[in-house]
Amino acid sequence: MWLYFAKRTILAVAIIAIAVTLLFLMIMAVPGDPAVVMLGPRATLEMKEQLHQQMGLDKPLVVQIGTFFGGLLRGDLGFDVFSRRPVADIVFEQLPYTIELILVSILWAVVIAVPLGCFSAMRRNTLVDHVVGVVTVATIAIPSFVMAVYAVLIFAVSLRWLPAIGVGNGFWDGLTYLVLPAFAIGIGWVGYISRLVRASMLEILGENHVRTARSFGISEWRIVARYALPLAILPTVTILGIGVAWLLSSAVFIEVVFARPGIGALIVNAVNTRNYPVVMGVVLVSTVIIVTATTLSDLVNAFLDPRTREKL
């Protein structure tokens, strides 16, 4: 277990290091001078040179990569010349909004998917099971931004039940602003989770301790809720790690649609203004989050299922 733990962690660090280098080389490989792109065609020679010095572009490539890595280790993601603030400050200021959104989306997904999964497992191969199956596949297929736009159209524009734009003031008000965006992300995950719960539920419902519980005359719902569900939900916990990448990608669209702050909205703005340092900062932070999440879920998996340890 410890050997696996060490290997997996080293792999994660290596992936992050390669990712950073790739990103850095990508910026360098772009045709043209980043300073010219940022300043526009009417920049004077002095302005360009000043920006070069500020960004460290006048030094050799190896020195630049070295400085970049050195800065990263100190938590320095570079400097945003537009707002004259460190990139790390900007990104970490926005990150809590995205994390909050993602957590509430997971909650939505679990609240809808787990009962659906249990229900189809209990009514296996009936019409209800098939209908749930089709609906869950559909939720996987429909893109989150289409779901978001239609959620706004139905619940905010037509019915006027929930606010759509912004984040609101205070905790409770803020929560009402989270309902729709989190739903639009969470619904896309209902399919995966309910299928997973259904499959593991079916496995567990066929086991001996469930048969014993049935022979005691305990009701089916109680068996599912008390004895089977705690076991059936385990695989869901481990795929949450893999799902983080997907959730972050959806968050980009959702933050734009609902005009919420967050790292998704931040990167879209930065792309539109060609603010490379901020773009790279967001990519780096989100890559680190994803690598950490997948590594953690692999470790949890390895802890629960020793067979997976040999694969690395």
Partner: protein, 297 residues
């Protein structure tokens, strides 16, 4: 195609319809697969025949009043510039389908080659390629795409490139696993003992075995690619206006969602139908050919 003549007419009949006929018959047994297939064929046909179907020039402004509701003249109403939404939606399917076709084709080609190299090459190369695949997979796809678009600028080619890069590692990994499994099989050893070179073994014996499962994987990725393509143009990072594209139409409509629901409805429904159609078809294909496929990933 090889054809055989048999004595009994029934067998001849079965041979004549060929593999494709058998495939269609099996697909028809799966109701959702049939629905998916019909949707996919319909959407593809509309995209190909689009110039014949449109009722107005999709980029001509002020062919009608602004933000009009659907009528006989304008089947899905008009947008904020008085363009015919129906014609824009019909033409707008071409971009996502083109993106899906080009990017997945490119990803498949590069992925297979790199996967075979990793599977049959020396150990160090295998490890290096695996590390690169895992690195690319660890980037959040949309955020990575946005970063590349920030660097290269928004254009159709760049979107195809970005999607191909993010899809490639998945295919390369499957190709590698399959190739490694085949490497130790007896018939490859036999071929090698007869003096066949690695290139011949890979091209003649390994490739046909690897490509089948990959085609199913690719077909299952089509809905995600259509979603990404439409999503990027929804964010304004796709084809430049006034080129019609479902994502861009949805975005236009979203700006005027308080005035009229019709543009949003017209822009979103085709995206939903396309992703649903390809998903149902892809799942049916997977169930038909290899139910355990996804577990490799």
């Amino acid at each position: 195609m090889v054809s055989f003549e048999a004595d009994t007419p029934e067998i001849n009949d079965a041979i004549d319809t060929g593999a494709f006929g058998a495939f269609l018959r099996q697909l028809c047994k799966n109701r959702l697969g049939t629905l998916g297939g019909v949707l996919v064929v319909l959407i593809a046909a509309i995209a190909v025949l689009a110039p014949l179907i449109v009722t107005h020039d999709p980029i001509q402004i002020m062919v009608g009043p602004r933000l009009a509701a659907p009528s006989l003249d304008f089947l899905l109403g008009t947008d904020q510039l008085g363009r015919d939404t129906f014609s824009r939606v019909i033409m707008g399917g071409r971009i996502p389908l083109l993106v899906a076709f080009a990017s997945l084709g490119g990803a498949l080609a590069v992925g297979v080659v790199l996967g075979l190299i990793a599977g049959f090459g020396p150990r160090w190369l295998d490890n290096l390629l695996l590390l690169i695949f895992d690195t690319i997979r660890s980037f959040p796809s949309i955020i990575f795409a946005l970063a590349i678009i920030a660097l290269l600028g928004p254009s159709l080619v760049n979107i195809i490139l970005v999607i191909a890069i993010t899809c490639m590692p998945g295919y390369a990994r499957v190709a590698r696993t399959q190739a490694q499994a085949l490497q130790s099989s007896e018939y490859i050893a036999a071929e090698r003992s007869m003096g066949a070179g690695t290139t011949r073994i890979l091209a003649v014996h390994v490739l046909p075995n690897v490509i089948g499962p990959l085609v199913i994987l690719v077909s299952m990725d089509v809905p995600a690619v259509i979603a990404t393509s439409a999503g990027l143009s929804f964010l304004g990072m796709g084809v430049r206006p006034p080129t019609p594209d479902w994502g861009a139409i949805l975005n236009d409509g979203y700006s005027y969602i308080n005035q009229t629901p019709w543009i949003v409805i017209a822009g979103g429904i085709p995206i939903i139908l396309a992703t649903l159609g390809f998903t149902f078809l892809g799942e049916a294909l997977r169930d038909m050919f290899d139910p355990k496929l996804r577990k490799d990933l």
